[in-house]
Symmetry: C2
Subunit: 156 residues, 2 copies
Amino acid sequence: MLFLIFLVAALAAGATGAAFPPGAWYERLQKPTWVPPNAAFPIVWTVLYVLMAIAGARVAGEPDSGAAMAFWALQIALNALWTPLFFGLRRMQWAMVVMGLLWLAVLGCLIAHWRVDWVSGLMFVPYLAWVTTAGALNWSVLRLNPGVQPLDTSRL
Amino acid sequence: MLFLIFLVAALAAGATGAAFPPGAWYERLQKPTWVPPNAAFPIVWTVLYVLMAIAGARVAGEPDSGAAMAFWALQIALNALWTPLFFGLRRMQWAMVVMGLLWLAVLGCLIAHWRVDWVSGLMFVPYLAWVTTAGALNWSVLRLNPGVQPLDTSRL
């Protein structure tokens, strides 16, 4: 039951990816040579969402799980915020700041979960690796496309 | 320290409100007579974010706090999802579904926190009242504006 609640929380954040798909704008951007194929993103995220839900459910309610739970909540809020900023508003700088905070939150999750249950801590290792990759991609796209304009929502 | 992490999580969700402001599109919508003034929303949300961060920090790591923490994570993810759907994509039906789930998540928070610490449970009462109001507003706007089109992101 706990696992299901954490999983729905993770999928709510993941729904931003379905609601704000990359589309033609992203396709036109200059990207680094090592960019993962588009198809990789939903597959990787699905695995990461299941892993974080398992880790959260294993640790929730255990003694001294306070920091783990606070970081879990922080990472899912930042996770849900990134996609609307990047693909929705095309605010790559704002998205980069959120990605940096997300990286710290996932590192916090890894350490705080590990202290309660090392298996749960391990489950954040692939997430941290992926956020590192996604952060490098956000950074590269920002550098390779200096002229890109954010969406002017006031004109819509 | 726990309070600060929960507060940043809450503010990350709240950042969607700053990133996706109502704007001219919302002004043009037909609204019910009892619609709260625009200025009320950031004030109310700031109070609610502080209250939920206090409640989360009080309960995190306490015995049997698992359900409270799972619902806390669920409500913040849904909270962050609603604004980009409603004001970003103008998908009022999708937003209404998220609002219904958010209402259930906040009720879950209220009950699960109360069981650990009744003061923390009480802190979700204003949040539940506000989500009820916001849900009624989402529903009314949906009914009063049957012809409203979602944003066609494929043409942007």
